[in-house]
């Protein structure tokens, strides 16, 4: 590899560092992302410039065009509510690509050894083989695991934990098989073993994610994202390529860190999230509809309640985005503000389907930044609040997180909506939220429910407030 190429690769690696650094703050995020995209593009053009006699050029270019069309098409079409599953899907195909590249690397190493004249020392460095085995296994885990998370979030399958008897045993057997096959890859490398290792990885990925339920799935996506990063780093080691090594390691490290941050925001440990269901259904919610009495009201009552309040806090949730009610909500807030009511949005760090997801959804509805208040800053205000309007959220205000040790969300910090004078829930039905558990707050005497589609209900509330 010529020196200038190595220097350009170094620049690309720096580009990735700047990209992640930029993404950590809202002002620099977009520029950072663009720098990352530019660095990745340059890095991928380089082989065409310096590799002598790169074969199958038309096919390679055709595949790149095909992938670009697929990527752009998917990225442009996806709705903001579906963002978590899109990230899962992109991560899965990345992991799959890494595993395939590792298989091809091994194929190439074996071919080189075979081509050597007899008598010449024909051993492949053990560390290269270990890195290849690692990528084969972890890459395929990431692929199949991500596809399951995609299916869960897209509701192609139940989002509840899938557990079957014998799962822990199958799990243990697959781990042992993966270890044995990896050692065999290092000692006696062959394509057959590589393919079996790949299949074991696929099965392991399935069993890893199936028992994870509902609200925990995004954490798993983040973890698998970190896994894929590490496989890319391992690929960089085998191919002696600094961009892959640095880029992959950055994603691996930052992804692991991000996973821990998210788990902390939910008050859970990563091991509990991953293996909780195996130990006895701790991510398992009841998912049953209660027939206990609740107090419900019409849109007019809610409108009057809001219009004559001094202080209102809105707790937006995923249900708001699904009903496409963000714009109506923003209009309602504008009218209330014009009447002199003090209104804020209380944003729980894991509102939506993924940490930070609600911020994306509200940004799309052009809700001004200044009105969004994070949980730690607003929690002390609830007790001075007249009305809390919960729109399509449930788990993030569920007091069970504080009181019920057996609840799947136990330990998760929540918004203290229960301390307000009045709580109004806009709900479609009494069906429990994403975590699948009932919310005691719904049955409190201070709580009123307004049943119906959030957009519809908010429209009616808006009309009432406007007419007052």
């Amino acid at each position: 590899m010529p020196t200038w190429v190595q220097l350009v690769y170094l620049l690309c690696a720096v580009g990735f560092i700047l990209a992640l650094k930029g993404l950590s703050g809202p002002k620099t995020a977009r520029a950072g992302n663009l720098i990352g995209a530019a660095a990745a593009t340059v890095a991928c053009i380089l082989p065409f410039l310096y590799v002598d006699n790169l074969r199958h050029l038309p096919l390679i270019l055709g595949a790149i065009v095909l992938g670009t069309i697929g990527g752009v098409f998917g990225a442009q079409r996806v709705q903001m509510t579906q963002m978590p599953q899109m990230v899962a899907l992109f991560n899965g195909v990345g992991g799959g690509a890494a595993a395939l590249v590792a298989a091809l690397e091994l194929h190439e190493l074996l071919a080189i050894v075979e081509g050597l004249p007899p008598g010449v020392d024909a051993s492949i460095p053990g560390f290269d083989l270990a890195a290849t085995a690692f990528t084969l296994f972890v890459g395929s885990v990431s692929f199949s695991g991500s596809l399951v998370t995609f299916a869960k979030l897209q509701e192609l399958m139940t989002s509840r934990p899938v557990v079957f008897p014998g799962l822990p045993v199958a799990f243990a057997l697959l781990i042992v098989a993966a270890l044995v096959l990896s050692v065999m890859t290092v000692l006696e490398p062959s394509m057959l073993i590589a393919v079996v290792l790949l299949l074991v990885g696929l099965a392991f990925g399935l069993l890893l994610v199936l028992p994870v339920g509902g609200a925990d799935v995004p954490i798993v996506i983040s973890l698998l994202n970190a896994f894929t990063g590490l496989t890319v780093a391992a690929g960089g080691y085998v191919l002696s390529n600094t961009v892959l090594l640095v880029g992959g390691t950055l994603v691996g490290a930052s992804g692991t860190f991000l996973t821990l941050l998210m788990a902390k925001a939910m008050g859970r440990s990563v091991t509990n999230i991953m293996f909780g269901a195996l130990k006895g259904g701790s991510t398992l919610g009841g998912g049953e509809v209660s027939d206990r009495p609740v107090k419900s009201a019409g849109a007019e009552d809610v409108g009057i309640l809001l219009a004559y309040a001094d202080r209102v806090i809105i707790v937006p949730g995923y249900g708001l985005a699904v009903a496409q009610a963000q714009h109506t909500l923003r209009e309602l807030v504008d009218v209330l503000l014009a009447r002199g009511v003090r209104v804020d949005y209380a944003i729980h760090p894991v509102a939506g389907r993924m940490p930070g997801h609600m911020n994306v959804l509200l940004a799309e509805a052009q809700v001004p930044y200044e009105q969004l208040v994070e949980m730690d800053d607003i929690n002390s205000e609830f007790k001075h609040t007249d009305v809390v309007l919960v729109v399509g959220a449930n788990d993030v205000v569920n007091p069970a997180a504080k009181t019920t040790k057996t609840a799947p969300i136990y330990g998760m910090p929540i918004l203290a909506a229960d301390e307000a004078r009045q709580v109004v829930f806009l709900k479609r039905s009494m069906r429990p939220g994403f975590a699948g558990i009932e919310n005691e707050l719904l049955f409190e005497p201070t709580t009123t429910l307004l049943f119906g589609d959030a957009k519809d209900s908010l429209g009616k509330v808006l009309k009432t407030v406007e007419s007052l």
Binding site: L20, S24, L54, V72, V232, N241, T249, L250, G356
Partner: protein, 112 residues
């Protein structure tokens, strides 16, 4: 210094850089950050191009092309989707007055 140690050095330093650059990020940006990091590992495309371009085995070329398609989807899709999200965070105030967006209300990708 042996080559292995050089690689190990780069690896360890990258771990620290990775943790350091995102350690102060607020939860507001967790979704775009995850998506952006996701796009970065799509650079495995580079490896896929290198291995596909250096083999003549028919099956290996086929597998390599699949890897190229998958890696490109990961990389291109990841950056585009991250940009779409961030665009909404960095909108300019005067460009869009109070009555923003199409009045359909279904702006969640609905226009496409």
């Amino acid at each position: 210094m042996s080559e292995g140690v050089v690689w190990l050095t780069i690896f360890i330093l990258s771990v620290f850089v990775g943790v350091e650059v995102i350690s102060k990020v607020s939860s507001t940006l967790h979704t775009p950050l995850m998506s952006g990091a996701n796009a970065i590992h799509g650079v495995i495309l580079l490896g896929a191009i290198l291995v596909t371009g250096s083999t003549d085995d028919g099956l290996a070329v086929g597998v390599g092309l699949v890897a190229i398609v998958l890696a490109t989807i990961n990389m291109v899709g990841g950056f585009v989707v991250t940009d779409r999200m961030l665009q909404m965070f960095s909108r300019k105030k005067p460009a869009k007055p109070a009555k923003a967006g199409p009045a359909t209300g279904g702006s969640t990708g609905g226009a496409r």
